[in-house]
Symmetry: C2
Subunit: 487 residues, 2 copies
């Protein structure tokens, strides 16, 4: 049992504790260092407390040791949880040869901050031990000039491979593919394949199958390792292999690959160029990363934030400024709605109750429309609805809006009547709610579809368009009806 | 090239086309059948058009053939894209022995609809060929009584295994684990292991490593297939195996497993009980499904929809009724905000411009606060922030709110002054915006954290609480200040 106990160090509960401890220690160290610096500045820079320095060095050595036992992904977790000073300290305590692996595991925002803090020569040292596709991942955010300098310090083969990966669009399978894979010819015997593998001594990660190609390097099928293990060594690869591999072109988009991995339960799949020649493979870990990243940024994009905002400890001014475009757009649409109200000043002056009631109509419209938006965005992501069926979906959402609009319009009308004893006012708000829910359903279905068709981001744009419409139209319909029937 | 061409049938572009065609054909068939039924009802049920029946049967046979060539996941896609009548038709054309596999691939809502449409004996036939964990997945939504009847029709071993899977909570690793795995003893030779595998003839899907256990069935390590392929057959398993496996307990939660799979790039991992005995394994395909499902329902939950709403073709009345709770809550909070305005009727009657300006303050507060909510929910999902650091995150969001509130407050104040030439009004709206953004930041950070702490869903509850606060407080602050300085 004692050894089984020891293996538990990798288990998340213990791990969480260990990470939390290190984060705590690093934060405290950074604060202490800051205090020492400040007191030095006050007392005079000349005074060097040798004892304090020794203690600090000892602490750092202990922390360095602990970090050395962490998986790169856990070091990345620690870095993300630290504030700027403590993060710099932690980064200096990570062994140089592990820094590349750690960078690969951090979120895009933290990675960018760390890479930009390093001189070019250090970046080259850090990325050198990595695979070409990972190097490409790390250097792609660098300014053109820095990237060229980093690449120049790598050896020729690496340079060429990194350049080839960088030539694919960021969202494509080509940019995410793994260049390290084992391919065999279909006319080889399983025995010969086994000998080939033994000579390699090690297989690339996530190799659950070998890729089978013909003389022209074109994809023919795949040979699962299990078949190789269990098959007759004298058999030919062609006899043992599976013939209809799921494969991707370098220019296929990652979400499509993710759909295929989910559906066909893949671990890896070959990637081919336009001549059907195998140029790499895509593995499930790249797909998992892609799905998670996409899911996480979707929640942020919906409210106008970008992945840069993932870094919770970026400087305050930067973070504040990144929110300006969103605030500006919202201020503009709110101002528009305000002008609609302003046009009905006379009606409001005559019946002040309208001012209290009008936000209800606008608000319910926005909330109800956002339900349609969420359904449509999900359908768009899954491509579950054909072009012809969009019309039916629209009719369905309109049907729901009319049903619920009539029902809740009556409820709101009744409440209004009880508060104000004004039958005309009650009727006006009931009809306004019904109409605004209908507008919300129409815009909620059409906005995402149209945004996507014109190549814009439906996740971010739809709710802006929706709320702008439901606010303005909500006020317009309600106050307009009031102007006709009440004034 | 021609064979490589043939393999492309699995490729998504061709596949999309094939699926779209079948969906089109099925929809048309269902409509035609409906028309025939209707005309029969009009002309008289006795008249049976033999020719029409023959044509229909021919069409169905052709469709059945095409569906037979589809992967279960693609049939599931077709079912989800079809309206109720066409879906029933398509389901009847799926071969009975494939129905279980297809059900596993559909979304929860469609699966539930299909399962509920089948008699108990048919459900038993459909699930019989499946693995116990998959059977558990399908029968768990059935009413208690039906579930018992279905299980009673399975053989004894299956019954016991399904019951054991059903005993784990739905969100746990135990409920998602795979009971089919290969375990070997550490004192066996690689040669002996190879012999054992050859006797099995086939390995379970996603077997990239064998699980190594001791005499008491306790987890000791894992043996990658690659090691088995490349190692010396005379070596002992103990020499070739890796000793610190990432493993899970049956009661670990799936999101934790997903984090570990993402971080350590796993394909499969052993699952142990409280005595560290191996009882199953969790594979990357289950993790991918879990991540996707969670990401997709998050977008829906945010606007008060559930996974039941995934079925875009469920009856309209049902769909409308499912939205009532959300509408009711929103109506209640909007009403609350309306009462706040009502309290300031006198001020608005004196300065009607207030009515036009007040929604701006409320709306910007809501949008800005939702940015804080999105950041916090993401941090909660990743557990990236320790308890002590929440305070710092709160201070940071407050800092951003004060910065941007001051800046955009000035902008809005300036715009107001230009429109109304009223310095007091401009000052009031500037200060109100600043204060409401601060309230929004505080609520935006605290609401999700507190909801999570009290075991509620932060994704769904946070934005309701936030908007209720920013609306009411926005009106209260703005009209309150106006009452003091303008009236």
């Amino acid at each position: 049992m004692d050894e089984a106990q020891a293996t538990r160090t990798h288990h998340h509960r213990h791990l969480e504790h260990a990470r939390a401890q290190v984060i705590e220690l690093l934060s405290r160290q950074a604060v202490e260092r800051e205090l020492v610096h400040r007191s030095e500045a006050v007392i005079g820079a000349a005074r060097q407390d040798v004892v304090a320095q020794l203690v600090e060095r000892q602490h750092h050595a202990a922390l360095q040791q602990r970090l050395a036992h962490f998986h790169p992904a856990d070091i990345a977790f620690v870095l993300e949880a630290l504030e700027v000073d403590a993060r710099a300290l932690a980064w200096s305590l990570v062994r140089p040869e592990r820094r590349g692996a750690v960078l690969l595991e951090t979120t895009a925002a933290v990675r960018r901050a760390l890479v930009q803090s390093m001189p070019v020569s250090e970046i080259a040292d850090v990325v050198r031990p990595l695979d070409p596709e990972d190097i490409a991942d790390l250097v792609q955010d660098l300014p053109e000039e820095d990237r060229r300098q980093v690449l120049a310090q790598l050896d020729q083969t690496d340079q060429a491979e990194v350049r080839s990966v960088l030539s694919f669009p960021p969202d494509s399978v080509g940019a995410a593919m793994d260049l390290d894979f084992v391919q065999v010819r279909e006319d080889a015997s399983l025995e010969a394949v086994l000998r080939l593998l033994r000579r390699r001594r090690e297989l690339p990660a996530h190799t659950n199958e070998l890729i089978v190609v013909d003389r022209g390097n074109r994809l023919r099928g795949f040979l699962p390792l299990a078949k190789l293990l269990l098959g007759d060594p004298d058999d030919q690869v062609a006899q043992a292999m599976s013939r209809d591999p799921v494969f991707f072109y370098t220019d296929d988009r990652m979400p499509e690959a993710a759909n295929a991995f989910e559906k066909y339960d893949l671990v890896s799949a070959p990637v081919v160029n336009l001549h059907d020649q195998v140029v790499g493979r895509i593995t499930v870990d790249a797909v998992v990363d892609d799905i998670r990243e996409r899911a996480q940024t979707e929640g942020l994009r919906k409210v106008g934030l970008s992945e840069a905002d993932e870094d919770l400890f970026a400087p305050l001014q930067q973070a504040a400024r990144r929110r300006w475009p969103w605030l500006a757009i919202n201020l503009a649409t709110a101002f528009l709605a305000s002008r609609v109200i302003d046009a009905f000043e006379g009606v409001i002056a005559a019946v002040v109750a309208l001012a209290a009631l009008m936000p209800i109509v606008a608000s319910i419209g926005g909330n109800s429309g956002n339900q349609s938006v969420a359904l449509v965005i999900r359908a768009l992501a899954l491509k579950a609805v054909s072009a012809a069926q969009w019309r039916r979906l629209l009719l369905r959402e309109l049907g729901i809006a009319l049903t619920n609009g009539a029902l809740w319009g009556l409820a709101l009308g009744a409440a209004t009547w009880m508060l104000y004893r004004n039958a005309a006012l009650a009727g006006v708000i009931a009809v306004a709610l019904l109409l605004n829910l209908t507008v919300a359903a129409a815009v909620g279905v059409c906005a995402p579809v149209l945004l996507q068709r014109f190549g814009r981001d439906p996740v971010m744009g739809s709710s802006i368009i929706l709320t702008a419409t439901t606010d303005s139209m909500g006020f317009f319909i309600f106050l307009g009806l009031a102007g006709i029937f009440l004034a």
